[in-house]
């Protein structure tokens, strides 16, 4: 059940910045300091604790990857960032996740606004059964964009951002489902960035793609980090090593090690990390 209490008006008053900066959406300033702070986060599925006292800071405009064996809590942690776990009944989160100073765990927060600012791309590419144009225009439209010319501009800009424009510009009104897997995933990324989020969450975005499509997505991620803070969950450790600036290793709900990817993959500090990344267990 979606736990959303809409208190937009009161919230806006609470968070109105004193320095005169314009607010893009509740809680988000146009401020380069958009690091994500995860403070003492515990997460429960019913009685089962899935995350244990997670503390980390994800710097803005960097790619952070979460790695770890199945069931370690990495996807749960990712979904905490945009409160996707609210959709799972019987779940509970303790602690704070602050994005640009805004507490995303605030029950008063407008979750749909939060998710507009934190886009998400999933393992299985999931374009809407609509045209390519409509897939991209859908997000801006439900957020109130009606101007056809502006929508067209957004569609073009978003598709160009994911290097899909040249491939689909002559068939924008064809169904998105006819695209190849790699194209569909890039379309989903374009759809996520069409609403101009600050953060992009990616849950195993390449696991259903061939190596060539995977490379394109990875190149795209590196390009996109110029504008977005990206958090990725991946089972492919080589992918984490290739694209991520920082990597966190989770095991049984605990954050075992977190630091620069280069350090983690050449000289990890914790023996458990070494064992996992070298395949000594798991």
């Amino acid at each position: 059940m979606l736990v959303t209490t809409l208190k937009k008006e009161s919230l806006k008053q609470d968070i109105q910045p004193s320095n005169g900066l314009t607010m893009k959406t509740p809680g988000f300033q146009h401020d380069p300091d958009l690091m994500i702070r995860i403070n003492d986060v515990n997460f429960y599925y019913g009685e089962t604790q899935a995350l244990k006292n997670i503390n980390m800071i994800l710097p803005e405009k960097k790619i952070t990857s979460f790695i770890g064996p199945s069931g370690c809590g990495k996807s749960t942690l990712l979904r905490c960032l945009n409160r996707m776990n609210d959709l799972v009944e019987g779940t509970r989160m303790e602690g704070d996740i602050l994005i640009g100073g805004m507490n995303t765990n605030d029950p008063a927060l407008d979750v749909s606004e939060l998710r507009k600012n934190i886009g998400m791309v999933f393992q299985k590419f999931n374009p809407f059964p609509k045209t390519i144009f409509e897939n991209i225009a859908y997000g801006p439209r439900i957020h109130g964009m009606k101007d056809k010319k502006k929508l067209t501009e957004i569609v073009e800009k978003s598709l160009k951002s994911v290097a899909l424009w040249d491939e689909v510009k002559d068939r924008l009104n064809s169904t998105a489902l006819a695209l190849s897997g790699g194209q569909q995933q890039r379309l989903c990324i374009a759809r996520a960035i069409a609403v101009e989020p600050e953060v992009l969450l990616m849950d195993e975005p390449c696991s259903a793609l061939d190596p060539i499509a995977t490379t394109r997505i990875e190149e795209l991620m590196v390009e996109l980090k110029e504008h977005y803070t990206i958090v990725i969950v991946t089972h492919n450790m080589q992918q984490a090593a290739r694209v991520a600036d920082l990597t966190g290793f989770l095991l049984l709900g605990e954050l075992v090690e977190f630091g620069p990817t280069e350090k983690l993959f050449t000289n990890p500090s914790v023996p458990k990390t070494e064992d996992y990344i070298t395949g000594r267990f798991g």
Binding site: D245, T278, G279
Partner: protein
Amino acid sequence: MSRHAIHLEKAIDELKRLILHLGIDVEESVKIAVQSLTERKLEQAKQVIDADYEIDQREVFVEEECLKILALHQPVANDLRLIIAILKINNDLERIGDLSVNIAERALYLSDKAKVALPFDLQNMAEKVRTMLRQSLDALVNRDGNLARQVCEADDAVDDLNREMYSCVEQAIKNDPDNLNSYIQLLSASRYLERIADHATNIAEDVIYLITGEIIRHGSKSDDTVF
């Protein structure tokens, strides 16, 4: 342990065996080369020169194995550092093999020349160098960082000995110019020993990298900061 890790572990075990085998052969080569020089044993000098082909072939084989592991297993962390260290140590060992050949060639030249007297104990210098080489390989086998650092520190003493040898040869040539070529050959041998000590130091530095992940060469320290 995953299947992938089992395969990688087997490949690494084989690689360790190969590099140690090469290390033992190179150590032996240095020992015989020095003996051939100090004891004027012609046969031994030839033996060192002939054995170098085998060392070169082994060096190529070890490198191919390292490249295979990198391509097939994409090792990380400790495994990655080990492969990189072995790749570099392999190169140093091959160079030490070449330097042994150079010493043996000096021995061949001197074998039919009149024995010259030098107030310098080349045998003692050779012993120090061989100890450094042996300790650097022991440090690799036992992952002994302290021993590796000891090897690095010992290099200065060998450098000093080489300078001392230079002064001795300089003086000897002035006193006995007829045997100039023989003195120069001995000076070259000292220089080759000093180079072997440098390669042993490189091996020790690679062992320290393997253990700590820290590159200590040229007093450098890697920087982890990304933002």
